[in-house]
């Protein structure tokens, strides 16, 4: 960087401390970096890495008792970390803006978005109220709010999540700040909306010349958006450099492990490379290099001395062994990612274990009768699942993907019997499970199917010891009442999921998220089921922990011959774990096929759109097709093919007639008129170069 002009933002040796009753925790420790004018710096790391606190420290919004204990932060050459509260407030919004994660909670629900915009503009400029209003409407139009002048007077709840995040971006940019700190700006959004918001943020910042500090746990978003990336671990930056260099030639073992943990569409691997363990808690950060307990290359020196950042190529790495490891990132990943063998051969005999026939579940969401009477509206029925037919062969994984509201979780709950179907049948091993109405009749089937939930914090009873949690199915199904046997089986189950027998005496809160999910799996396995329904089992977990859980699920499937119904919105995870994939849209299965085949040759326009939303981690330069629109309300789904309002190929027939499923030619099915009428455009096959070739 040229010495004469200081960088837009310079952070030097930043140290953030949180005093607690049991001592001072150091959450950010000696972090230094800079951001140039108009540059996008990605800050990536798992939860607890200190990335959000770094952002909060820069904008002066650390929550007490957190405080900046050392270091200096300069904006445009002027030191800002020692400004008084009032001076700092004037800086916020005008020089530094911020975008938060959840658009649903970022806006004050009681004021119109227009009022919130005008208030912010008037705070920072000398515009009159009328000019501010015009400026605000212009901004709303710029962030892609249709009929902005009319929407100006609407309240936040009248907007969908994606639209609200656009409003949030307009608010953050309305005084034209030079730097925007975006803290997980797309994490709470659906994949198709995620792609739209990232594209919008990139375009706006380029047009306004705004620099961005993009904080996220999602490497894909960084790869697509950032110019440089800083990788944080336990309060320190372990590696920083140009995005391409860091991703393709990761040098720090943590970065290497992190990259290897991310499942990729198009990469057929038997196991994800995994970093064992989890990010240390703030009160037990190890001495020396904080990563050494999880590092495969750790030496005596790593345990004693903390490495400083040294320059390697265009990047800087804080690792004693960075020199030896340089450029080995891709190689390591290649070694660990052994090629996936012929997957279908490894699984069961191909006989169906679970069959859903025209399965439907409707919910009555009508207003109370008197209200209906006066507003003359009819009953409202939410068709959460509306006629799903699919077959899951024994020993395979069938995944359902789709955006929120598509009904995938409802299918999961129907299959395990948490809901009763409104229509259709569920055959479990040839037996119509949904028709069984007595508890006793269901019991033998119940024992054979179990569920793993999304949130490992909410799905374990906090007042029970792990031993009781895991033993519950044994007792509930009357499998055994013998204490010694229960103890032995719980111990064996815990070992099987990678925990130790001594963990049985602990309570859930003593475990990390990943470990809790292991407990959850152990509990599901206790009754020796054949079939597991997994509803987003890894979406609450960090990437490196997600890799551990996915690997575990794979191993268990192989050892025990399990069959999975896997629900997820993460397409890469689905690609990694599945044999078959079904795509759901507004309660219907629009396409399903064998996983590889579906990802290689998606036919339904919705499937194609979803696949286009996958961030391009391999930096092939592939242009993502911008995805239009958002999922409509399932209460009043569009007529005909429900996807037609967002479909580039829609015709009059699509608007009127619902397409029937047709064979795809590979055993799968697709429900689309464009496919039936043979007017589907060619799609460029996905480039899937190996990492090594990318250099």
């Amino acid at each position: 960087m040229p010495a004469e002009t200081p960088p837009l933002l310079e952070v030097r040796d930043l140290r953030v401390e949180i005093p607690t009753r049991r001592g001072v925790l150091v959450a950010v420790d000696g972090v230094s970096f800079h951001i140039e004018e108009g540059e996008v710096l990605g800050v990536v790391g798992e939860s607890g890495a200190g990335k959000s606190l770094t952002g909060a420290a820069i904008i002066g919004l650390l929550e007490p008792p957190g405080r900046i204990a050392a270091g200096r932060i300069s904006l445009e050459g002027r030191r800002i970390d020692n400004l008084d509260a009032e001076a700092m407030r004037r800086l916020r919004g005008r020089r530094i803006g911020m975008i938060f994660q959840d658009p649903l909670t970022s806006l004050n629900p009681l004021y119109t978005i227009g009022r919130q915009l005008v208030e912010t503009i008037l705070t920072h400029t000398d515009l009159t109220e009328r000019q501010a209003r015009e400026h605000a409407i212009g901004l709303l139009a710029e962030v892609g709010i249709p009929s902005a002048a009319e929407r100006f007077d609407h309240y936040p709840h009248q907007f969908s999540g994606g639209m609200r995040q656009r409003v949030v971006i307009a608010l953050a940019l309305c005084a034209n700040p030079r730097l925007v700190i975006a803290d997980e700006p797309t994490t709470a959004l659906d994949v198709s909306i995620q792609a739209q918001i990232i594209a919008l943020l990139k375009r706006l910042c380029r047009e306004h010349g705004t620099a961005v500090m993009l904080i996220t746990h999602d490497m894909g978003v960084i790869a697509e958006t950032a110019d440089r990336v800083a990788v944080m671990y336990a309060g320190r930056i372990v590696e920083i450099g140009p995005v391409r260099e860091v991703i393709e030639q990761a040098r720090h073992p943590y970065t290497i492990g992190l990259m290897g943990s991310i499942p990729l569409v198009g990469h057929d691997v038997e196991r994800l490379s995994q970093i064992d363990g989890a990010m240390p808690r703030l009160d037990e950060i190890p001495a020396g290099c904080a990563f050494h307990p999880r590092c495969p290359h750790a030496s005596e020196r790593c345990r004693r001395e903390r490495p400083e950042r040294i320059a390697l190529g265009n990047a800087e790495v804080a690792c004693w062994h960075a020199g030896e490891l340089a450029g080995r990132g891709a190689v390591t990943a290649g070694v660990v990612r052994e090629r996936r063998e012929n997957r279908n051969a490894r699984t069961g005999d191909g006989r169906p274990l679970v069959e859903l026939r025209d399965l439907a579940r409707h919910f009555d969401v009508s207003a109370p009768w008197l209200t209906r009477l006066f507003s003359r509206e009819g009953r409202k029925v939410l068709r959460a699942v509306d006629g799903v037919t699919l077959t899951i062969p024994r020993g395979t994984t069938f995944s359902l993907v789709g955006e929120s509201g598509c009904g995938k979780s409802t299918v999961a709950r129907l299959v395990v019997g948490l809901y009763r179907p409104s229509r259709g049948t569920i055959l479990f091993d040839g037996q119509d499970y949904a028709k069984l109405d007595s508890h006793a009749a269901m019991a033998p089937v119940r024992r054979r199917l179990q569920m793993i939930f999304q949130d490992p914090y909410a799905s374990l009873n906090p007042r029970w010891r792990v031993a009781e949690i895991v033993a519950e199915p044994l007792r509930a199904h009357g499998i055994t009442r013998d204490r010694v046997e229960i103890r032995d089986r719980v111990g064996a189950l815990l070992r099987q999921v990678g925990l130790s027998e001594s963990d049985a005496r602990k309570y859930p809160h003593e475990f990390s998220g990943g470990q809790r999910q292991r407990i959850s799996i152990a509990r599901a396995l206790a009754s020796r089921p054949e079939f597991l329904v997994c509803d987003e089992p890894t979406s609450a977990l960090d990437v490196s922990v997600q890799a551990q859980i996915l690997n575990l699920m794979r191993d268990l499937q192989r050892e025990l011959g399990l069959t999975y119904l896997f629900i997820s919105h993460n397409l890469a995870v689905v690609y990694y774990i599945s044999d078959y994939v079904g795509v759901m849209y507004l309660g219907r299965l629009v396409e399903w096929a064998e996983a590889k085949s579906l990802f290689r040759d998606p036919k339904h326009p919705y499937t194609r759109m979803l696949l286009d939303t996958i961030p391009d981690l391999e930096m092939t330069g592939r242009r993502r097709a911008p995805v239009a629109g958002e999922v409509p309300s399932p209460i009043s789904p569009p007529s005909g093919c429900a996807f037609h309002p967002r479909c580039p190929l829609a015709t009059a027939r699509c608007r009127e007639m619902r397409p029937e499923p047709l064979p795809r030619g590979d055993g799968g099915e697709v429900a689309c008129h464009a496919v039936a009428e043979n007017r589907l455009p060619e799609r460029a096959p996905r480039e899937t170069p190996l990492r090594q070739e990318a250099d």
Binding site: F100, T105, T120
Partner: protein, 329 residues
């Protein structure tokens, strides 16, 4: 919206009928009304005649229907003790109680809300801590004791304020007010403060808790990140968001201020409905008790309805215009 109001009205009518049933039950089952009407030397034949004349031997439902019909017209019969129509008695006493309650509620709100905001914003300050400690005293001391202490200090020792009664009143039509005379205002101060104290501490603690909650929300953080001034954030964004629960509680509390002014009224010999009710209990004056019961229920129902409508004013999410709510771009 219309559907909602009508539903609430229907529910209110149900509540009122239930209360009326209880009030009516008082007549039937607490003693024999004939005994209360006639002297000891009335013969059994005369009693039966009277019973028939008053319709007391009609079936239960007929009697109840008659009671409800009369009550709806404001006719609760004649007080055993005062020998005057109950409605007259109540109208006479109502202004005193309402003035006292409303002034007390205003004091509670006007002092409680700012104190709540202040203690919410300056959690650790000396003043906040003193307020919190004082509020504990306010909550834990019984009303009558506070009243008596006030009387002792300002009435007996300092002789600044009158110790009982309502002072001079001015009649505005049927309504008598003490708010227009100096002696009336002076007489109002102590009972109003006594009655307000508990509510005030309650409101203060509620506003404080809500403020702390709201200040942690994302939209407040985002407002700070946009550089809005503290005043705009605290009073524009945060305070309004604390209002919904505060309105609920204040509404309910206004009801109970009116209903439970009894104690304060007896301590200060305030000529309101509470005093009337206490006397009625002493004398087993059932018509007055029944009327009081129905009256208080009516207050609660009306206040609750008003509170529900206020929600609509404060929170746009409840004014859902359902077509727009799902609107997309």
């Amino acid at each position: 919206m219309i559907g909602f109001v009508l539903r609430r009205l229907l529910q209110s009518i149900l509540v009122m009928l239930t209360v009326a049933l209880i009030a009516f039950g008082l007549f039937r089952y607490v003693g024999d009304p004939i005994n209360n009407l006639v002297g000891q030397d009335t013969s059994a034949v005369e009693r039966e005649q009277l019973r028939e004349k008053l319709g007391l031997d009609d079936p239960f439902l007929v009697q109840f229907a008659r009671f409800v019909k009369n009550a709806a017209k404001g006719d609760f019969g004649i007080s055993y003790r005062h020998r005057r129509p109950v409605a007259e008695l109540i109208v006479e006493r109502l202004p005193a109680t309402l003035e006292l309650s409303i002034v007390a509620a205003l004091i509670a709100l006007l002092v409680g809300v700012p104190m709540g905001v202040y203690t919410g914003l300056h959690r650790e300050g000396f003043l906040s801590r003193s307020f919190m400690t004082l509020s504990l005293v306010g909550v834990s001391l019984p009303t009558f004791l506070i009243g008596i202490l006030l009387i002792l200090l300002f009435g007996v020792v300092l002789r600044w304020l009158p110790t009982f009664g309502r002072g001079e009143v001015v009649a505005l039509g049927w309504w008598t007010t003490g708010l227009l005379t100096v002696s009336g205002l002076k007489a109002l101060i102590m009972p109003a403060i006594t009655l307000a104290l508990f509510q005030m501490t309650l409101i203060m603690r509620l506003v404080r808790a809500e403020m702390l909650e709201v200040l942690r929300t994302d939209y407040i953080k985002f407002a700070r990140a946009r550089g809005l001034s503290n005043r705009a954030i605290h009073f524009g964004h945060a305070l309004k968001n604390t209002l919904v629960p505060v309105i609920t509680i204040t509404g309910l509390q206004l009801g109970s201020i009116i209903a439970f002014a009894i104690i304060t009224e007896s301590v200060f010999q305030w000529p309101g409905m509470g005093l009337l009710f206490i006397q009625a209990i002493n004398e087993v004056d059932i018509p007055v008790m029944a009327a009081y019961l129905v009256m208080i229920a009516l207050f609660f129902v009306v206040i609750n309805l008003a509170v529900d409508l206020l929600y609509y004013l404060v929170d746009p999410r409840l004014r859902v215009d359902r077509d727009r709510a799902t609107g997309h771009g």
